[in-house]
Subunit: 404 residues, 2 copies
C-alpha cells in the first residue's frame, strides 16, 4: 500500500464527498479500574446516534505499542505509512510553527545552549529558558542576513526554535551541529553529500553571526542546529486518491502536514471553537471532495492531565456536530490521530476509537454509543490507521473493482 | 519490524518489569459442539480476575492457519518473525535435547536407518526403534573421537539423535547425507561452500566410524545426517529491546530458544511444578527487566489427547499464580505459544488466548474471564504474536514516542 499502487489503480475522480473529523488524542483510559474513559464519560447524543447507525472500530496509528507524534499519526490517517514516510525533524518543527515550505527550502530545528568561556557546551537546553525569552532571542536572530537566501526563524517552545533557509541550490544533507554531549564545542555544519557544501557554508555563516549576537545572553549564549531537511515531496491527494482536498485546522503542525499531502489550507483563527471550525467546513464544502477538520483541544486537555476538560471538549464537538451533519456528507469519519489519556498526560499507543457513517453503505454492528469498549467489537475491527483512507474512498464509491 | 529497526530506535533501558508466562499449547477446542474449551472449563479464579481487570485478545503465532513448532512459536512470542528467522533443523534438534551451542559449533540432526548387504537404505527410520534402543546406540557412538573437535551426541526420540561438533573452522554449509529415498546408499557429506570442506571431511570420518560401530545393530545398522547448522546469531534482547532477560523453563528446547535470543538461563529441575518454577522466578525477579516463564505440561496433556489432565494443569498454574502476583510485575502477560487442543492431540493453528495485565496502563475491555470466547472480543483484538513484545514494552513504558 505504501506506494499507493492500489489507489492509483482503483481510485476514480467521481464519487461521494468525504468528511474526516479528527479529534486529536481522542482515545483515553479510565481514571480508575473499571471506570469510564473520557469519550465514554462524555454526553454525546449525536456521536452515539452516528455510532448506532454507522459502524465503529479501533485504529492502530503506527504500529502496536507505539505512541506516535502528531506528524506521523496524521500521515497515517491520510494513508501514508509513517514508517515509510519519515519526515525530517526540521520540517516537522517548521510546520509546527507555521513556517510553510517550498520545494527548495531547507528547514532546521535549533536549540539554544549554554557554552562556557572556552566555547564548550555546559547545558544543551540553555537551562530551559522560558518561551518568552526564547522569542526575544529569536527576534535578535532575525537581524542575520546572508547573500542569496531568505531566512525565517521562529521560536517553538522554551529553548527550541525553527529555522528555514529559502533559496536555490540548498540541501538537507547536512549533519547536526549538536554533539549530543556537554563538555565539547558545538560541531560545525558539515555536508553529508558533496552537493550540500553550499548549504553547510551558509549554516556556518549564520551560526557565526548568531554566536556574536548571543554572546552576552547566557544561559542562552549559543545554539545548535539539528535535522536539516527538505519538503519530503510526498505523493499528493489529487494524484494518489483523485481527491480535491482541504484542511480546516487551527494549529500550524496540522496545516503543515496537510499541505505536504496536497490539501488546500482554509484560513482559520487561533481562537476558533469547534463550531467555528465546522462553519468554515460548511463554507467550503461545495468546493471539495474531501475535507479534513482538526480539533486540537482534546489532545491538549489530555496532555494537561485534565480528564474533565477533555470530556468537555468532546461534548462541545458533539453539540456543534449538527453543523457538519447538515452538509449531508456521503462519508463521515470521526476518529483521533492517537490516544492521549488524561491519566498519561502524554500521547499513548492505545488504539483509537473510530466511527464511520455512510448511510446505505456502511456495515451495521451492535455499537450503541461511541466509546472505546463499543469500538472493540465493532464492524471495523482493529485496523492500521493507514487503511482508513481506503474505507473512506470505498464508502464514497470512489474505488473501482480490483480485477475482473 | 522484522529487523528491529523500530525497537532499536524507540526502546529505552528504563521502565517497568515484564513477566511473560507461557503455558505451552494453551489454546484448545471444545470436546463437543457448543461445549467449553480446556481453558474455559478450568476453574481459574486468579486468571479470571486478571482478565477482568486487564485486557485480553488472541495471538496468531506464525500466520493464519499455520500450526507452528515450539521453536518458531516461541521466537514469535519473543518478537522474532519465525518466517524471517528460520533456525536450522540441527540447531533446533540440539536445543531440544539441551545441547547448547557456542558460536563456532555445528549442530546436526541424525537418523538411524536400515541398510541392506549392499549398503542401500531399506528403511529411513530403522523400523522406528524405541527410544531406549536409540539411547543405547547413541551411547556406543560416544566412543567416536576425531582430532581437533569435541563431539556431543544425544538421543532425541526413537530413531532420531542430535549431534554437535565443537571446534574451530567448522561450518554449517554441508549437504544432508539423507538421500530422501530407499534403495540407494546414504550420500557422503559434501560441502556446499569451499570453506565447509573441513566440516564435510570430519562428518565423513565420523560416519565411517559410526558405520563400523553399528554394523551388527540392524535394523539400526547405519545413519544419515541432516540439517547441518550453526547458531543463527539472532539479535539479542539486550540489543534490540534493552532488556535484561531471563528464562525459567524446564524443557531444553525452551531454554535453547531463550539462549538464542540472549536470555540468562535459570537453573531448574526436571520435576519442577508450576509453583516450583514460579518460586524460581521470584528468586531472580529483582535482577531482571524481563522474565519468561514456561509451563510445558499444558501442551503435553493436549498432545496426549487428555482434555481433563490439560484442564488440571491450567488449574495448577492458576493456584500457584499468587507467587507471581506477589512480585507485583508492572506488566504480566499470560499466553501460549500455540494451541494444542486435546481433541487434536497435536499443535494447531488456532489463535491463542492472551491476557495482558498492567494496572493503570492497559485498556479495559468487557472480558470477565480468561478463555477463548472472551478473548475474541477483547481489547487486544487478534494480533500477530510478534507484536506481543511491542505491547509488553509499551505497557512497561519502555518505548519512546515515534516522531514529533
Amino acid at each position: 500500500m505504501a506506494d499507493f499502487g492500489l489507489t492509483r489503480r482503483l481510485a476514480n475522480a467521481k464519487g461521494g464527498k468525504i468528511l474526516l473529523l479528527v479529534m486529536d488524542g481522542l482515545g483515553g483510559l479510565p481514571r480508575e479500574q473499571g471506570g469510564l474513559t473520557e469519550l465514554e464519560t462524555a454526553h454525546t447524543p449525536n456521536l452515539d446516534r452516528l455510532a448506532q447507525e454507522g459502524c465503529v472500530g479501533l485504529s492502530i496509528p503506527v504500529a502496536r505499542g507505539v505512541a506516535p507524534g502528531s506528524g506521523p499519526a496524521h500521515l497515517g490517517l491520510f494513508g501514508y505509512d509513517p514508517l515509510v514516510y519519515d519526515i525530517g525533524r526540521g520540517v516537522l518543527e517548521a510546520m509546527g510553527v507555521g513556517l510553510l515550505l517550498n520545494p527548495t527550502d531547507v528547514a532546521v530545528r535549533g536549540n539554544f545552549v549554554t557554552v562556557d568561556a572556552d566555547g564548550k557546551i555546559t547545558d544543551r537546553r540553555a537551562g530551559r529558558i522560558p518561551t518568552e525569552k526564547g522569542a526575544e532571542l529569536v527576534e535578535k536572530l532575525k537581524a542575520i542576513t546572508l547573500p542569496g537566501v531568505k531566512i525565517d526563524v521562529t521560536v517553538v517552545k522554551e529553548y527550541r526554535f525553527a529555522l528555514v533557509f529559502r533559496g536555490e541550490g540548498l540541501s538537507g544533507e547536512v549533519a547536526d551541529t549538536d554533539p549530543q554531549a556537554t563538555g565539547v564545542e558545538p560541531l560545525p555544519a558539515r555536508p553529508l553529500k558533496p552537493e550540500a557544501q553550499h548549504m553547510a557554508d551558509l549554516a556556518n555563516q549564520w551560526i557565526a553571526q548568531a554566536k556574536e549576537i548571543l554572546k552576552n545572553d547566557a544561559p542562552a549564549n549559543m545554539l545548535t542546529l539539528r535535522g536539516f531537511s527538505v519538503d519530503p515531496n510526498l505523493p499528493k491527494f489529487a494524484d494518489v486518491y483523485k481527491l480535491k482536498s482541504a484542511c480546516v485546522a487551527v494549529y500550524p503542525m496540522y496545516k503543515g502536514v496537510s499541505k505536504l499531502v496536497g490539501m488546500d489550507l482554509i484560513e482559520t483563527d487561533a481562537h476558533d471553537t469547534p463550531a467555528d471550525e465546522f462553519r468554515r467546513v460548511a463554507n467550503i464544502w461545495q468546493d471539495y471532495d474531501f475535507v479534513f477538520c482538526h480539533i486540537k483541544y482534546t489532545d491538549s486537555r489530555g496532555e494537561d492531565g485534565n480528564f474533565d476538560a477533555k470530556v468537555k471538549i468532546i461534548e462541545d464537538v458533539d453539540t456543534a456536530l449538527p453543523i457538519l451533519l447538515d452538509l449531508k456528507p456521503d462519508v463521515l469519519i470521526v476518529t483521533g490521530d492517537h490516544s492521549t489519556p488524561a491519566t498519561f498526560k502524554a500521547h499513548s499507543w492505545h488504539p483509537v476509537p473510530t466511527l464511520l457513517w455512510a448511510p446505505g453503505v456502511h456495515m451495521t454492528d451492535r455499537a450503541t454509543a461511541f466509546g472505546e469498549r463499543e469500538c472493540m467489537t465493532g464492524a471495523l475491527g482493529q485496523f492500521p490507521a493507514t487503511d482508513l483512507i481506503m474505507y473512506a474512498l470505498a464508502h464514497a464509491r470512489r474505488l473501482e473493482k480490483y480485477g475482473a
